[in-house]
Symmetry: C2
Subunit: 409 residues, 2 copies
């Protein structure tokens, strides 16, 4: 591979395809939200394990209600009540009904439940039913929700609240998920100082430390700090080694521009089993990006400009973390988007993907995306923005009024 | 207020409007992602604190490049280099240029930067410039990104990675955010058993414990378990008291259906300063919902059906947590939505908001929403679904091909 040629995001994703998955680990359901399944889940049993009532009412034989109406109700004898959490003590024959609450177990012989609202108690043992019910009505059959042997959740799926509910329903209290990637964060540059120090003239506070930390969290990784590396091979190499020892990935910001690029590449190349895979992506802002491997560990060199670093993280580093973390759909061009209308022309150079920060507003029920122009180093364009519009490589831009897809922050 | 009348979600939100905000607390930036600001943030200083180069190149006077082209380059003398992190040692006069890297401090007298790509070194001290630059070009002016005194972030804003970056740039390492609400979770019902026990006939595992836990996390709260309450006033009251003592909110599931409603209301009413505010919402699934206060603490009684409980949590309990947590826009009808086309007719009863689970697919570049029909107790409808479509109270449903808004999971 010619790594001096600038690569497209799709080409970068082809490289990522070869990266190794992290190992799996077991977690209890309370810790499983947002984690990615490392195995398919097959229902070990039927759920519900018995036919249950979906309503408060009376369990009965549906055919006993056929023809029933407000004017001509069906009369049924009440044979008691289903106690919650217990097998019903009576079974139903024609002419009989049993009081049942939502979730109660359907008695033998009953095939439907009539809602309490459609009945009236005549005396202690007799009800009028004003509406016919069909067999199965207001009943959740055994296995109707989850069938024994059915695959319900798949490897690569990111667990949502309802998925945890389904696992709980089947008595699965622990699941195998991919381990979170540990991501070491390095800021570089002789001009960069910690945020609690007062910058002297020419110095600037370390912004990327925090944006990259938060983006790592959002992408499901576990960030850790490696501090600020001075523009020295020794310092950068030492921090890189520490990061690769402790983590699965190291993200360096500020080490990819002309002045420091050679230093970064030299530091990476000096590492055991190191290989630079990529140098430059056709993305704006963010072109000067480095991707390297050292064995199975991954190194990203991002631009120093906070906005460029963020956009490369969102478009490439996050998908890399998803890939390593086993997440299905990691290679989609972007997460789902909102459709909006461009408030004005947005010009763009061909030959690169352009990420324009936009503000969203509603005008007459229609979503409008207004570009926020600003230099790529201006963090305020990201703060004032509500999302990004990607302008494709082969496009010269977007016309006023054209539909755009907004990738919301 | 007539609490026997069923309330709409808008009416419920009017009740929530009166609820008290949680206190503020200070957090460091590493812990601030997703937290809600409890104060406006005003820039304490200009950022950048000095004019910086936005490119690798040469700092110079723009007028020295006027008229320069490939055919007729401007010749300039190179007077050295701006060292990163240092105040430049030279100042620029007409005819001079200084090498500068991205982020370097602009020397006195210079008003623009020409990109290194548009120059050529003739000898050690002379460059040709092939393109004219305008004054200010490739320069980020002092205060251009963030201006001293400018309000940049507002109370009620949920902090994103870029917001943390802006705070870091200004040297703000700690922010005041609203405390997370502590939410106690109770499942009720004689039929409900812990997930690690084998249910006997008529018994069912505790699903809501996990779905409500995860939904609380997603809404920014801190969940804690109070366990399974049997259908007894004493047990429910004891768990409620424990929850209100330890937390800001208690969420009871399964205590709002006909069989147990009176018990739940009796347990709530027996608490000090307790007041039932609501009983029944015009939402399907989820109608039998209870909202109560005990002093400044909040109690929700949700249906026992996992799907109904989830939908009421998403539509009402989450906004309640956002309101208490100071989040701006907590009262929006729903988070932002995806526009899709209904794959078939979706009927709905008037007089209630209907939440239909849908699966999303792409057909010819168009997003299609296919309803998943199933009984409201079926957790699998939520697991198989990608989102919810809300059908408004005054609508009889959606026609095939009609545009719907999907609230993605």
């Amino acid at each position: 591979m010619d790594f001096f040629r600038v690569q497209t995001t799709q080409q970068v994703k082809e490289i990522l395809r070869g990266f190794t998955l992290l190992e799996a680990e077991g977690v209890v359901l309370e810790d499983a939200l947002g984690r990615v399944l490392a195995e398919d889940v097959t229902c070990p049993e039927d759920f519900p394990p018995f036919a249950r009532s979906a309503m408060d009412g009376y369990a009965l034989r549906a055919r006993d209600t056929f023809g029933a109406s407000e004017g001509g109700p069906a009369l049924l004898e009440v044979w008691g009540e289903v106690k919650m959490g217990q097998r019903p003590s009576v079974s139903i024959r024609s002419g009989g009904a049993v009081r049942i609450a939502t979730g109660g177990m359907l008695p033998e012989g009953a095939d439907a439940v009539v809602m309490v609202e459609h009945t009236q108690l005549i005396d202690e043992r007799t009800i009028e039913v004003f509406r016919a019910v069909a067999p199965g009505e207001n009943v959740i059959q055994k296995g109707e929700d989850l069938k024994k042997g059915e695959k319900i959740l798949y490897r690569g799926h990111r667990l949502r609240p309802q998925d945890l509910g389904a696992l709980a329903a089947m008595g699965i209290g622990m699941v195998k998920v991919y381990r979170r990637a540990r991501v070491g964060i390095i800021s570089t540059g002789d001009e960069v100082v910690p945020i609690d120090s007062v910058p002297q003239m020419g110095e600037i506070r370390d912004t990327n430390r925090y944006t990259l930390w938060a983006l790592t969290l959002e992408a499901g990784g576990e960030p850790f700090h490696l501090g600020i590396a001075k523009d020295s091979l020794e310092d950068l190499r030492k921090k890189l080694l520490e990061g690769l020892y402790k983590g699965d990935m190291v993200v360096i910001s500020g080490g990819s521009s002309v002045g420091t690029r050679d230093l970064t590449i030299e530091a990476i190349s000096s590492l055991p089993q190191a290989e630079v895979l990529l140098h430059g992506v056709a993305v704006s802002p963010g072109k000067p990006t480095i991707l390297a491997r050292a064995g199975e560990k991954v190194i990203w060199g991002l631009p120093g400009h906070p906005v460029s670093a963020m956009i490369i993280f969102m478009t490439l580093v996050a998908p890399c973390l998803w890939k390593m973390g086993g997440r299905k759909g990691w290679d989609a061009p972007q997460p789902w988007t909102l459709k909006a209308k461009a408030s004005r022309n947005i010009p763009s150079a061909q030959g690169r993907e352009d990420y324009v920060r936009v503000k969203l507003s509603l005008e007459g029920g229609e979503l409008i995306a207004s570009p926020i122009f600003g230099k790529s180093g201006s963090i305020s364009t990201m703060v004032k923005g509500d999302g990004l519009v990607r302008i494709e490589m082969d496009s010269e831009g977007v016309q006023k009024g054209e539909e755009v897809e907004v990738w919301p922050f």
